[in-house]
Structures are given as C-alpha cells and as structure tokens.
Symmetry: C2
Amino acid sequence: MHTGAKSQTFLRTVSQLLAMTAYTATVTVRLKTGVLDPEAETTQRALERLGFELESLRSADRFEIDLEADSKEAAAERVEEMAERLLANPTIHDYDVEVEER
Amino acid sequence: MHTGAKSQTFLRTVSQLLAMTAYTATVTVRLKTGVLDPEAETTQRALERLGFELESLRSADRFEIDLEADSKEAAAERVEEMAERLLANPTIHDYDVEVEER
C-alpha cells in the first residue's frame, strides 16, 4: 500500500476514535410475567420467615456495560444486540436498555 | 376483653390498614469495587468472542418488592433492613434502594 494511502487510513482511524464518546449502558433482564421465578419465591419466603411483611417480590439481572460509540443511538443498538444474542433469553425474558454518557 | 375494647382494637387496625399506601421498592445489589466478579468476566469474554467491543461489564442483582407502608420513608426503612439482613452481604456488596408509590 502506498505510504500516502497508509497514512490516510491511519488518520481516518484516529479521527474515528477521537469522534467516539464513552457511554455506560444498563441492561435490566426480567422474567416475563407468568414465568415461574423460584429464586424470587424462595427469597420472599425467607424474608417472611424473618418477620418482614411484603406482598410480592421479583428478581432481575442487571448488566452495566462501559463502551465507546459514535452516538447514544449506536451504543443502544449495540447493547440491544448483546441482549438479544447473549444477556437475555427472548423466550422467557424481557429486557430494557438505558444509555448514559460517561 | 370487653366488647367495647374489642371493637376499639378492630377499628384501630382497620384505620391503620386504610392509612397504608402501596409502594414498589427496588433494591440493586452490586459487588463492591475491587471484589472479583467472575460472572461479569465470563459474560464479557463471551460477548467479545461474539465480536462485540466493550470496555468493561459489571453485573448486579435487582429485587423489586411490592409492599404496603405508612409512608415512603417507612417503606424505604423496611426494605433497607431486608437488604441488611438477607438481600446483600455487607462484606462484599453495596446496595441502593429506590421507592415509588404504586
């Protein structure tokens, strides 16, 4: 590759990197309503045995992800794909994504 | 117990119940900074193997608790005690509590 072309690519990569912004995305993964939640039931019964009064309890998993992206939308899109492919099981889970600039 | 006294107690209980408000408290339990998080590390590596770019990932447990209480402060206090006694291990976890009226 001609040195001119090489430095061109290098400069483009650097400028792309500089244009990136740091975000923290939070993914909250919950069991869909109606899906049994044995962990939550066990926790609720343990709390009641300790004498606490509560009507119901639901548990959820939460992932806080630090990433660099061109925009807030790009960050949200990438994290939604992470949820679809790994963090959540679409058959039994619902999930929501929040993105904040760091 | 004299019937008058009985109905007094009954009335007081009913009025206390009526004065209660329905809240949802959310407890988010995180590992303290510096405590190893093997689940998060495994999840991050799996995401990277799928080709995702991310800087870091932290996992947290989240409990959503429906309860009745006299006030928002009373609801928060009860849920903080639940966290201290069962939901979080004070040695390795930090937690925060949010309370919303239902």
